[in-house]
Symmetry: C2
Subunit: 330 residues, 2 copies
């Protein structure tokens, strides 16, 4: 099933069930007001949401209305924990080569007080901070016990979303990164209009990996057509088990894959990345490797970013993230 959260002026919004084709929505009122309530008591609430989803898809729901991604908050607007993984070695090899050879997936604790909707502007105070995008997949998980296995981790995946994780590259580099950790460098993450249960992916969901194409557009130009399955070294089950190595995780925890990024190939005597890039920092690294110098600038105020992933049938899956970079306070 597919779930979304409608902006209603509150901090948690109103839970919606959304039809498979993202055409119509229905309030989940009477089942659960907020997505966190459903996550807290999933085995009891999810079947009721599924029934409503089935009714909506078959035109039998009582009060459907047109679904508008522009009215969406993040499916889960705030939650207790967010862990960001780095499951695609190619991204680290390009952007943080010193960390690329770690024997396990890198994990970082991140903020989850202010998760943004798919059409929310990215507000940044200073264009010179090196504004970058980053398309990835994020799982919302159930309770996970301390010491969980990768199989238990995979079983705990309740919902999947797309995310655009804005990074301020000047704050991600030393000395700022040493002082602030990720507090300053990752101020804003937006999520797809809907969160979907893994069964919506069909055969494209294998071993904790989504074997579909993540499309990234920058100012309307397609810059990335990344295969999210092929070069994902650790599946979500492994990431979740890794996160629970010394402690339990509570329901609603977000576990992200890091930017979806495919390995380069040797062609015409030089290394190329035919599937494009998932962040401008990758593009800069590619240019430096290919030509000795980076050419591209980071994002400017007014720039737009679009991140989407469709099913193998070309149909909408999560809905698209479409954001504009704007100056804070302007």
């Amino acid at each position: 099933m597919k779930l979304a959260t409608l902006k209603d002026g509150s901090r948690d919004g109103q839970l919606l069930v959304v039809s498979r084709d993202l055409g119509t929505a229905h309030f989940a009122t009477g089942i659960a007001q907020r997505l966190q309530q459903a996550l807290d008591d999933w085995n009891f609430i999810a079947p009721q949401l599924q029934d409503l989803y089935d009714a909506l898809n078959h035109g039998r729901a009582r009060h459907p209305f047109p679904f508008d991604p522009a009215q969406c908050m993040a499916p889960l607007p705030r939650t207790g924990q967010r862990i960001e993984g780095a499951a695609y070695p190619n991204h680290l090899q390009l952007v943080q080569p010193a960390l690329a050879d770690a024997p396990g997936p890198l994990l970082r604790q991140r903020a989850s007080d202010d998760l943004r909707g798919p059409r929310d502007d990215v507000q940044v105070a200073d264009e010179a901070w090196g504004i970058d995008f980053g398309g990835e997949l994020v799982a919302i998980v159930a309770d996970v016990p301390l010491g969980a296995t990768p199989e238990q981790g995979l079983d705990a995946v309740r919902l999947l979303m797309l995310a655009n994780d804005t990074t301020l590259r000047q704050w991600a580099a030393p000395p700022a990164a040493q002082a602030w950790g990720a507090v300053a460098s990752q101020p804003h993450t937006a999520f797809s209009p809907v969160a979907v249960t893994p069964d919506e992916l069909g055969d494209a969901w294998q071993d904790g990996r989504v074997h579909l194409t993540l499309q990234t557009s920058w100012n309307g130009r397609k810059v990335g057509m990344a295969d999210a399955g092929a070069d994902m070294r650790w599946g979500l089950g492994e990431l979740i088990a890794h996160a629970a190595r010394t402690r339990r995780l509570r329901a609603g925890t977000l576990v992200g894959t890091g930017p979806v990024s495919n390995a380069g190939v040797e062609a015409n005597g030089r290394r190329e990345w035919p599937k494009g890039y998932a962040s401008v920092a990758e593009k800069l690294a590619m240019e430096a490797l290919q030509d000795g110098a980076a050419q591209t600038d980071y994002l400017r105020f007014g720039d737009t970013v679009r991140i989407d992933m469709r099913g193998r049938d070309g149909q909408p899956l999560f809905g698209a993230i479409e954001q504009k970079i704007v100056q804070f306070g302007a």
Copy 2:
């Protein structure tokens, strides 16, 4: 006023108003069920809680009952964000000297999905992981805008708590720290029975600092009597402004001071720390500096830790954290 959260089997518990002497409590039902509700709408809800607090202190509340810290969850059992500062340079100088000379306060993003109660056991899978305690102060803040000043940061402090931040030293050192960040090394933080508004501290609250003694006991022996005001290089206003340098913080965000730690003094030709230590890692560093070798072991299963802070009049303020280290799954 003083607020607590009663264990009721739910994930957020029941909000209580607690009398100044921590003798009696009263359900806040009818005002707010959960502390996060009060934080979301503080200007409306806090005056009602204050009225109940006043009535409770004057014996005029309708249904008071004895307050039992053993029945408490953390005052805020889960929230959207937790930022851990390092406001006491002495701790870094001893434990992470490479980071001690930073021009501003170090900040790190931390988990906030599973904040523990004052009497909850610390469950650890392996005694060899280097189990350590760490007494500190933690503020619960209101909404803070991007680019807030230290004055705005200070104004945003809604409530203060004590915390015991358990660290697994083996996971806090390379290479684990590089791979996991703080995800694995800081599995468990317990909070004082009550959270208090800053006015409860009277003159001891100055410039975002609490000028009172943080008492740490290990297996019943007092090992730290730290002055929480004297050597706090950055006040909570500065920590909060620093955290909001590139983004806003949402109501309920926790901002911690890091372990409360006083500078050493030269005495009898060697450096001494007459106020003791806030964590075993500090003690090991002191021993290495004094005698060339660390003598003390980290905590063992069955050990107890007690962290408390009283008012200048000797009366209870936050209530004490009292925890036992136990083996997970045993």
